[in-house]
């Protein structure tokens, strides 16, 4: 793709990135950071591509180590985020069982 095309994608992504984050309660800052962290684990795709076209021992070693690290970033990131959010959800269910719908009705987010 030409440079202008890539620049367009870059600029639009910046705006989307700012937009989706602009109103987030502090409660979710930690899971959000962790989730974003998992997303940049997508460097794994880059690591796979360079390993796939590697020539010689040095390139292959760099690529394989990069794959292991990137997989750790991606898989670990998503799993740890899910664990954090699981707790919110677990409590949410317990609460629903006890308090029925009454307290959900005021529209307060369950956090």
């Amino acid at each position: 793709m030409n440079n202008v095309g890539l620049l367009t994608i870059f600029m639009l992504s910046i705006f989307v990135g700012f937009e989706v984050i602009s109103k987030v309660s502090a409660v979710l800052h930690t899971p959000l950071m962790s989730g974003a962290n998992a997303i940049h684990g997508i460097i794994l795709v880059g690591a796979i591509l360079i390993t796939g076209s590697a020539q010689g021992g040095i390139q292959l070693t760099l690529g394989v180590v990069a794959i292991v690290l990137a997989t750790g970033n991606m898989v670990g990131g998503f799993v740890v985020t899910d664990r954090m959010l699981e707790m919110f959800k677990g409590r949410n269910k317990a609460k629903a069982a006890v308090a029925a719908d009454a307290k959900d009705a005021d529209g307060r987010p369950i956090t």
Binding site: I21, A26, I42
Partner: protein, 459 residues
Amino acid sequence: MSTATQVAYFVTSLCFILALKGLSSPKTARNGNLIGAFGATLAVVVTVAQRGLGHRPLIIGAIVVGTALAIPAARLVKMTAIPQMVALFNGVGGGAAMLVALDEYVRLHTVDSTAAAIAVAFTAIVGSVSFTGSLITFAKLQELMTGRPILVPGAQIVTCAVGLGAVGCGIAAVAASSVPLAVICTGLSLVLGVLFVLPVGGADVPVVISLLNAFTGLTVAASGYVLDNTLLIVAGTLVGASGTMLTQLMARAMGRRITGVLFGAFSGPSTAGSTAEVVSGDRAVRSAGADDIAILLAYARKVAIVPGYGLAVAQAQHTCRELVDLLESRGVQVFYAIHPVAGRMPGHMNVLLAEANVPYEQLKEMDDANPEFSSTDVAVVVGANDVVNPAARDSVGSPIFGMPILNVDEAANVVFMKRSMRPGFAGIDNALLYHPKTTLFFGDAKDSLSKLVAAIKNL
């Protein structure tokens, strides 16, 4: 790249946007994360299945090894240790980006544009800083090293020199297509990451993790440019932009400026120390034992619990809940007042209390909690200090002036559970500690809470 692969990458990009969107609202957060995981898996599967990919068994083997290492680490980590785990995962991501960049250096003769070469140098430098920087933040939070700022005279000059050296070598490596220069550039950048994070104080570390997270995102975007891969550009830029935003939100919630966080403690530790001495003077504090405080709590109508960093460190969230349950069974109305930056990361305290099964109705965010304090009989501050310091509200000259605080001083009585009289991480004295309505209860948060539980049971 085949059309099918491109479509898959497009779907993944959409998944990532939806994931971030979902993660910003409590109700959709978990699904958002799952959508992100689905997108990532799709992209990886499609990439591995791509025709003409060499070394496929080796690649799959490396992915299996990485997964086998990451899942137990992520599943078994204690909830209190989550921040350092995030730092570690961020670090290895930065490391991966750095290695991808190094690989591009090795084959630099195939990089035909200057722009791409600059992107490679950028990835190598920033990826390396993110890698070692994150490892140092991990060491600080894991208490493998001191969490206090490590300040050496002249360190800033050394840091600048190393930074300039890294950039210089990067430019030279790009200009001369030289592999040895690229290796030196990466080495200097690794050192730079260490120097960058060493002067940062323990409680500021989360802001730095968030910043390094944004850095890693940008390096991924730069690698995407080099590899001509739009998915990496979109995903990396999303994380870079949202991470920068998040860093600002976090710093603001702590009443700090990002530059202040990065360039060491407020105006240097010496000034902060001397202010504390002048202010504290010889004023007396009142401390009491478990029995006195138990009586105070048991016969109160309304009690506020203000948990902080100390509670997280002592892992006292379960004991704290036990105390609250006990008080409630005696008819005392209890609520938790949560400051946005309580714990080790913004929102971390909510995660910890959720783990201890504290009901949601008892948790009050700062804006909801503050009007309650004037009708509260006892406010119990467990291991927090700066977030309840009235100086942030009242004294214009204070370094933390302007930071939003919990108005604990409006309660009829204040009980501080502290390990010592040492000021909080900001190094600023808290006048509330010397107030006549304040009682201090010295000790580790968990021990103190257990003693209180025992004492109330004996009443």
